[in-house]
């Protein structure tokens, strides 16, 4: 049984579909007079956020509270200079408080992995975004949104456009969408595609206009202006000209194609205002879906005597298995 949700790659197709189906049932809760279900009564969920993120934190908080769980918010600003002592000591404190689950967002890739495996606490760990590594619940809510609009995702073409190199959303989406049978194309200037991306099982393209007419979903990623100073692209103007989604490009999309963005978006950089406000844009709906999906994840992990995820093996193991040479590294057991 999988106790943690650390990576979208950990979810088998059955797991992913179970989460989406459960989210579908829970979504209707928003229409009821009493927006509460008793399933997680008496459970304590801690939001452990080492990076600012009001939206994700509020989304998890709403999800937990709607399931009647007790929520504790812990916001620790750690600079890249401060050591993980704060992570370890915080984990020990939460264990002493009896947290059932820890939702963690951290600037260091792998921090949730460490929390889950270092033996500091017995809580379930849910990755709410770690460095440039993954953001599994974002991918789940994105897939849920796509599924609600397009139905079964088998064979659907999804374009993910923007700063893939620094995007944990892109990584999680690439993994999850593949698991669900979709075809993913990453579109970015060559400087913003990770080295070795050919091994991810996705297509890549530097040409946005060539990709758009064939897609069913266009997902635009955040691009930070500061990347310009590290020579990832010469100017904001050139970036948005070549990789921004504007009204002209939007007109080339198929009728059913939807436009998504994980937020927060920079109008004028990756999207123009007319695209963001158009009917194709499901950006606001993504937020609503976020609560339902997070409720589903929390319920499936904590609602019973043991988690309901992880019955079957994922059909692909994205991580390498046993290392050469030494035995299985310490920290796993």
């Amino acid at each position: 049984m999988k106790k943690h949700l650390l990576s979208a790659g950990d979810l088998s197709r059955d797991d992913a579909e179970l989460i989406l189906q459960t989210a579908e049932e829970l979504r209707s809760l928003a229409d009821r007079p009493i927006k509460k279900l008793p399933a997680l009564r008496g459970r304590t969920i801690v939001n452990l956020f080492f990076e600012d993120s009001t939206r994700t934190r509020i989304s998890f908080e709403a999800a937990a509270k709607r399931l009647s769980a007790d929520v504790i918010n812990f916001s620790a600003k750690g600079s890249s200079l401060s050591k993980g002592e704060s992570l370890k000591d915080t984990a020990l404190t939460l264990e002493a408080m009896g947290a059932d689950a820890v939702v963690v967002r951290h600037w260091a890739s792998g921090a949730p992995h460490l929390l889950a495996n270092a033996g500091w606490s017995r809580s379930s760990v849910i990755n709410a975004g770690d460095g440039t590594h993954e953001h599994p619940t974002q991918a789940l809510l994105d897939a849920f949104t796509m599924w609600r609009h397009l139905g079964d995702l088998d064979g659907r073409r999804i374009a993910i456009v923007g700063d893939v190199l620094h995007s944990r959303v892109a990584r999680s989406n690439a993994l999850l969408l593949r698991t669900l049978g979709a075809e993913v194309t990453l579109v970015a200037p060559p400087t913003l595609l990770p080295y070795g991306v050919d091994g991810w099982g996705v297509e890549t393209s530097y040409d946005l206009d060539g990709v758009l007419p064939k897609t069913d979903v266009v997902m635009m990623l955040r691009v930070q202006r500061e990347r310009m100073n590290a020579a990832f692209f010469p100017t904001v103007r050139e970036y948005s000209r070549r990789y921004g989604l504007d009204g002209r490009r939007m007109a080339n999309l198929q009728d059913h194609t939807i436009v998504m963005h994980p937020g927060p978006m920079i109008r004028g950089m990756e999207l123009t205002a007319d695209v963001a406000d158009s009917e194709r844009s499901v950006i606001v709906e993504q937020v609503t879906n976020g609560v339902a999906v997070r409720m589903a994840v929390l319920y499936l992990l904590l609602g019973g005597s043991e988690p309901a995820l992880g019955g079957a093996e994922p059909f692909e193991t994205p991580r390498p298995s046993a290392p050469q040479g030494p035995l299985a590294p310490g920290g796993e057991e």
């Binding site: 890249s80 890739s109 070795g196």
Partner: protein, 428 residues
């Protein structure tokens, strides 16, 4: 001083024979020796090697005595079969003056577990701006011959040229930590498919290879010795091979961990595997082994890098770079090179004793095991296996990547100028 009669040792893996150690030298070698008043050391089945010489160790003193001291570090060295270590200069204060190198040298003598040859910094404070007083360090009691900014790269081409030229005056050698700083800003692990997946910033092979290529050309141009620290990529091996083919004055070292471990281990996010240069791919490991076997890589050096617990018990990005290496080096070399048939024990003696001593211009070390030579030797049992226990170490730190791993062989005894520093696997 006690005399020792070592019986039935297999010198460089050869036939069993006896050695008589008397007055700090090897007095006699032959079969069936007797010696009155000598302590008998039964070495049945043990390999006898000349005392190992490490060209690259971090003893951390002065400044980071919480991680290691000269005393604990050299004891770990002796337990690993070393009779001499070169202590890198990235201490606090940096070893960039005669005063600091003499202090480290003296601490080594006081501890008495093995000889310590301090490495002098190339630039003041390792800042890469101006040359340190290399001459003063060479003339000091520590008689520094190896200079290195290890930890940092001497990336300024002009400064590297000057350093190479300057050390010729006293037969010095510049040991470069090859890492182009701009290409590796905040780099965490080998740049490859895995680094992209894991969200850890990549350390591309080209950042090492580009510097090595430049420095080989510089060394040839000014006709001065260059030593390349911790070669880690197949491409680097190629460049060094080419340089040697041209007869250029280049030597290179490889670390035990780069001969065995790959970057796949980073997938655990356990910073015990975080090291600089990083663990690379299986192809690189293979190329290093072949290079070490054919002599392109001249020596094995440990880059023993102790760190206190809190510097490794945290998330990857926050953790320090480095692994322990002194006590496991010989076992790793046996596993990676001898047991695979790539190198014999004579080759091990060359790579881990004779050649490093030559590069460091050490008089009494790396000498063959022959009558009249200083009695610096190690007795090693290649037949046993042991499971590495990170708590069983003379080092103050515990950051070994081999914890729980079964490794072949064990150092039984180490002799420093005829005096045992280690007997039966324990400090003497």
């Amino acid at each position: 001083m006690t005399d020792y009669l070592i019986r039935n040792a297999r010198i460089l893996g050869g036939e069993p024979t006896d050695l008589l150690v008397k007055g700090g030298v090897i007095d006699r070698i032959g079969d069936g020796l007797t010696a009155e008043g000598a302590e008998i050391i039964e070495a049945d089945g043990l390999i006898a090697l000349p005392g190992l010489v490490d060209l690259h160790t971090h003893l951390r003193e002065p400044g980071r005595e919480d991680a290691e001291t000269v005393d604990t570090g050299t004891l770990a060295a002796a337990l690993g079969g070393f009779t001499a270590v070169h202590a890198m200069a990235n201490t606090d204060p940096v070893a960039d003056t005669a005063g600091v190198v003499e202090q480290v040298w003296r601490l080594g003598r006081e501890a008495g577990h093995c000889d310590v040859f301090p490495v002098g910094a190339v630039t003041v404070g390792l800042a890469g701006e101006r040359l340190a007083e290399l001459g003063a360090m060479a003339d000091s009691a520590a008689r520094v011959r190896v200079f290195s900014d290890d930890g940092k790269c001497v990336s300024d081409a002009v400064l590297m040229r000057r350093a190479l030229e300057y050390v010729k005056a006293f037969e010095g050698v510049v040991a470069q930590h090859a890492q182009e700083p701009r290409l590796t800003e905040d780099a965490q692990m080998n740049e490859g498919e895995l680094s992209g997946r894991l969200g850890l910033r990549g350390w591309p092979a080209v950042a090492e290879e580009a510097i090595i290529a430049r420095d080989c050309l510089l060394a040839a141009h000014v006709d001065s010795r260059l030593h390349v620290c911790h070669v880690s990529t197949a491409g680097s091996v190629e460049i060094v091979r080419e340089a040697k083919n041209k007869g250029w004055p280049v030597t290179a070292e490889a670390c035990p961990h780069h001969l065995l471990l790959t970057d796949e281990l980073a997938a655990t996010y356990d910073p015990i595997y975080k090291v600089n240069p990083p663990l690379r791919s299986a192809t690189d490991v293979e190329a290093l082994r072949v290079g070490l076997a054919d002599g392109t890589i001249d020596v094995v050096a440990t880059d023993h890098a102790p760190h206190p617990h809190e510097d490794k018990d945290c998330e990857w990005q926050a953790a320090a770079f480095g692994m322990l290496g002194l006590e496991t080096a010989l076992s790793i070399v046996q596993k990676a090179m001898v047991d695979t048939g790539l190198l014999d024990w004579a080759g091990v003696a060359e790579r881990m004793s004779a050649k490093p001593a030559e590069i460091g211009r050490l008089a009494g070390h790396g000498r063959p095991l022959a009558a009249g030579e200083p009695a610096n030797l190690v007795l090693y049992d290649p037949e046993v296996t042991r499971v590495v226990d990170p708590t069983e170490t003379a080092s103050l730190s515990r950051n070994t990547p081999y914890a729980g791993m079964e490794l072949p062989g064990r150092v039984v005894s180490t002799f420093l100028r005829g005096k045992p520093t280690v007997l039966d696997g324990k400090p003497a």
